[in-house]
């Protein structure tokens, strides 16, 4: 089975939060996904080796970028059904405040989805949603829609 097949299976069984288990890098950094109040969220738990700058004791910015990119991917998989996987085109991340050594949570929203391209916006926070630590815009190239056969 390919990754696309495995993801389609999880999607059909409403187990998309388990997509992370299929992606080695997502497992490596320890990100996990869950539903809360009808929203699909991703959480990056604090770990000592996530610290980029030990003097300031803050997360490495690349990890926050990785969390937001993964959140966008998962969000898109949930909302757009295609038989192949979307390809990431680019990311534009804003770092709004230092990311303290506690867990980071992220959620995504599709800003616009066209026939070929989707724009997903992600927000990451630690204390509360309205106090974001970072935001990110991610563009995906979408595969052609599944052919309708009935």
């Amino acid at each position: 089975m390919s990754l696309a097949d495995d993801i389609a299976k999880l999607r059909a069984e409403e187990r998309l939060t388990e997509v992370i288990d299929l992606i080695p890098y997502a497992r490596f950094i320890g990100v996990h996904a869950y539903w809360e109040d009808g929203q699909l969220l991703a959480r990056l738990p604090y770990r000592d080796d996530h610290i980029g700058n030990y003097t300031a004791n803050i997360f490495h910015g690349g990890l926050i970028g990785a969390l937001m990119e993964h959140t966008a991917f998962m969000h898109l998989l949930h909302h757009v059904e295609r038989n192949r996987l979307p390809k990431i085109v680019n990311i534009s991340a804003n770092y709004l405040r230092p990311v303290a050594p506690t867990d980071v949570i992220a959620s995504g929203a599709i800003v616009r989805q066209g026939a070929r391209v989707a724009n997903v916006r992600v927000r990451a926070w630690q204390k509360t949603w309205d106090d974001p630590v970072a935001t990110c815009d991610v563009h995906f190239l979408l595969p052609k829609p599944r052919k309708q056969t009935d």
Binding site: P24, Y25, F28, G52, E69, I91, N94
Partner: protein
């Protein structure tokens, strides 16, 4: 890509490349992923990361996850800045933009190369690319970022006070 960068800082305040390289080598996340500095001078910064199956984003192809490319380029861009600001200046990423031009070829080491092309008293600008070792003309990703500068101590929190 080298161009003349005028510094807003007095000429006697020089960068301390050795301290910067030590700081980079002992960063917990750099150690966790084996991210190494190769070059850090006024012209460019180069960093290297060995291919590792734990960093894969697509298990079908073995291509690296975008997150590892982001980490490599964020660190390389900041290193290019640190190599030309006064010793002790702290650098924090304000924003970054990465274009993923093509998937990285599996099993090859990845190189990040950046150049700091403008410095003001508060903000520095870097751009660069990521490519497989030995293939600088065929980049995997293009990168541009801005960094906030803080005048005291690497990453030191001065509580808003400045000397």
């Amino acid at each position: 890509m080298t161009n003349k960068v005028t510094s807003p800082f007095p000429p006697e305040l020089k960068p301390d490349i050795e301290a910067v390289l030590h700081f980079y080598a002992t960063s917990p996340h750099h150690r966790a992923i084996g991210l190494k500095s190769v070059v850090a001078d006024a012209d460019k910064a180069v960093m290297k990361i060995a291919y590792d199956p734990r960093f894969v984003g697509n298990p079908d192809t073995g291509a690296l996850h975008g997150g590892i490319v982001t980490t490599l380029l964020d660190s390389t861009g900041a290193l290019a800045v640190l190599a030309r600001v006064p010793a002790g200046t702290a650098v924090a990423t304000l924003d970054l933009r990465i274009d993923y031009l093509r998937p990285a070829i599996p099993k090859l080491d990845l190189i990040g190369e950046s150049h700091c092309f403008r410095i003001t008293p508060n903000i520095a600008f870097s751009r660069g690319t990521a490519f497989e070792d030995g293939k600088p003309d065929d980049p995997v990703a293009n990168f541009v970022a801005t960094y906030m500068l803080k005048p005291v101590g690497i990453g030191m929190d001065t509580g808003g006070k400045q000397p």
